[in-house]
Symmetry: C2
Subunit: 350 residues, 2 copies
DNA sequence: TTGTAGGCGTTATCAG
DNA sequence: CTGATAACGCCTACAA
């Protein structure tokens, strides 16, 4: 390993001077500076990050806590966060964590000096990881949000607005009977996960306020169950003409399921995805109309908020909610005539 | 930050003794040991990783280089690698890298003392990142493989065997006319990416050896192109009865595309996915038959190989290829009668 | 503008 | 079994 000492020796200067040019900490004469740069280059010197962290008490690492248990597509978040981190010369480290020991492990990241701050995703409404981070005085920002948001930096999807928009858009096409599909997470470590809970509530309120009819279908992400969804849906709620799906898997499966039941999309039933993150929804036939999750933007904003805080630039906490953006597919149409009869094979309806 | 010094003071021992119990480096009397443990607990002490790395010249971090540019699903690799790393008390850090500066950045990881070793994925046939790692004497293992494999630790999918198996399985059902779909990567940073190249070659050899007919379709991962694939395929190769797809996106799109053209799966055409990594292939109708990528296993083996090497346990390099495992869906059937006529709307076939 | 030297929190060697 | 103490590589007052 090439050290500063060796560089200093070769450039005939003191180790401090090398440090000054490496970090731009203090002015150095162009000629000595040049000598040092050459020495660095010739020796292939790289600053040792452990020593640097130890001496400066700053790691320039922010950890992005990375849940390992689910199939959600977090790629976009990461991309956004990584870009912003790089821009500020921070390293973004994805910290894969199993939910078991998550709570304690996370604060340790900071206390052990491994990272300066934490980006937390898959936040639950009541999230003890957040409490731990607060207690430990660890700088953090959330992608998602808890119930109690006092003083915390967060960015999140505006599920409420997105849901209302979806309902309104469909209502404008004559739809009156809605179904919402959300992932069933009870019994999993994500039981208290905000997005489905907030969305369901927003959905129910929107339906109620507008005098519509709406049903909620919670589905576990099990291939068999997801594939049986179309049958279940029409069996239980035969008047439904508009489906809002917060599960990409369910959305994709519904297309095949409806087709098999002889239900046409969008002639008989319209489908829209919300908070969609998977590119596969655009590949089925018909391609789905979706409200896409602004993943990259959220990742970027969260990283920015955290780094601002780390560098003491913070004032009031960053608290933003961004609605999903409409992506036109071909799965939405006018509501069918109210007298349409959906004839479903009774044998299939349960 | 709580330090060893504070723990030592509280437990009335020297700092060295604390170190011994924290690391299990040397035997310590049960009673003093107990006192120290209590002090650690009461103070909430966490070893500082930077100091530790500096003093021991070991970071116990292995970096998993994480490409940011594509849609491939790497979740499984990561899960496997993380599990093994944790088991050996290594931290697995995902290192998101943009391909631009990838080559130099990677070796720096080691030279800067940030990580002990590197796990590299998305390996190209001629990969200068690998050469850099070798030159820098940086310990590494590949998930994937280059052309020149002398002395390198790698794990990879056995694309050749998987491809031959797929062909054989379909041939046994009477299929004689094949198409292979691979992702077109020319012009991208992944132009020299091994999997499609090896698969294509294995496919062509298998077809030739068995006296079959086979065509290769390279498709860019652009939603429009992928959706138009069924039309293109049948337009160009109307006799095809068996499609082997190495692109999950294409596989999913084909199901819808064929249906729209009035082609039945599997009555008219059989489809199998190979090296499949996306759960969405099981959600379309009919669910696809796939040869699933052993992602988790590969991640685990690669991490194991790297850690063995790091700990000096290495002998001959680990070099393994694992074939994909068959996942039964409903997209494969007997070849249709040879006199079947596929009538394709000429307007659609361009 | 540059050099000196103390310290960051651990590890690890060497005495005791 | 335990304690001093010299590294580890770098940063940063403080001096020169």
């Amino acid at each position: 390993m090439v050290t500063m000492k060796q560089v200093a020796k070769r450039a005939q200067v003191s180790i401090a001077t090398v440090s000054f040019v490496v970090n731009g900490t203090k002015p150095v004469l162009p000629e000595t500076r040049q000598r040092i740069l050459e020495a660095i280059d010739e020796l292939g010197y790289r600053p040792n990050s452990a020593a640097r962290t130890l001496a400066s008490r700053k790691s320039r690492i922010v950890a992005l806590i990375y849940p390992l248990l689910d199939q959600h597509n977090h790629h976009a978040f990461i991309e956004g966060a990584a870009a912003v981190a790089a821009q500020h010369e921070y390293s973004l480290v994805l910290w894969p964590i199993h939910s078991d020991n998550a709570t304690t492990e996370i604060a340790s990241l900071i206390q052990a000096g491994f990272a300066d701050g934490v980006l937390l995703m898959e936040v639950q409404l009541e999230d003890e990881r957040v409490r731990h981070l607060q207690q430990a005085q660890a700088p953090f920002a959330l992608i998602g949000r808890t119930n109690d948001l006092r003083g915390v930096d967060y960015v999140d999807i505006d599920f409420e607005l997105t849901t209302r928009t979806a309902v309104d858009d469909l209502m404008a096409l004559g739809h009156r009977d809605f179904a919402l599909i959300v992932e069933e997470l009870s019994g999993t470590p994500l039981a208290d996960y905000g997005p489905p809970l907030r969305t369901q509530q927003a959905f129910e309120e929107a339906i109620h306020e507008r005098g519509l009819t709406g049903h909620v279908l919670r589905v576990r992400h099990d291939a068999g169950l997801v594939r049986g969804l179309a049958t279940e849906l029409l069996g239980r709620f035969h008047d439904t003409t508009a489906v809002i799906s917060m599960s990409d898997a369910a959305s994709v499966a519904l297309v095949g399921g409806f087709r098999e039941l002889g239900i046409r999309i969008p002639d008989d039933v319209s489908i829209v995805g919300i908070a969609t993150a998977s590119p596969f929804t655009a590949l089925v036939d018909p391609p789905l109309t979706t409200y896409d999750a602004p993943g990259e933007q959220l990742g970027a904003l969260a990283a920015q908020a955290l780094i601002d805080r780390l560098e003491g630039r913070g004032g009031a906490p960053t608290q933003v909610r961004i609605p999903c953006s409409l992506h036109h597919g071909a799965s939405v149409g006018q509501a069918p005539s109210p007298h349409r009869q959906l004839v479903v094979n009774p044998g299939l309806t349960r």
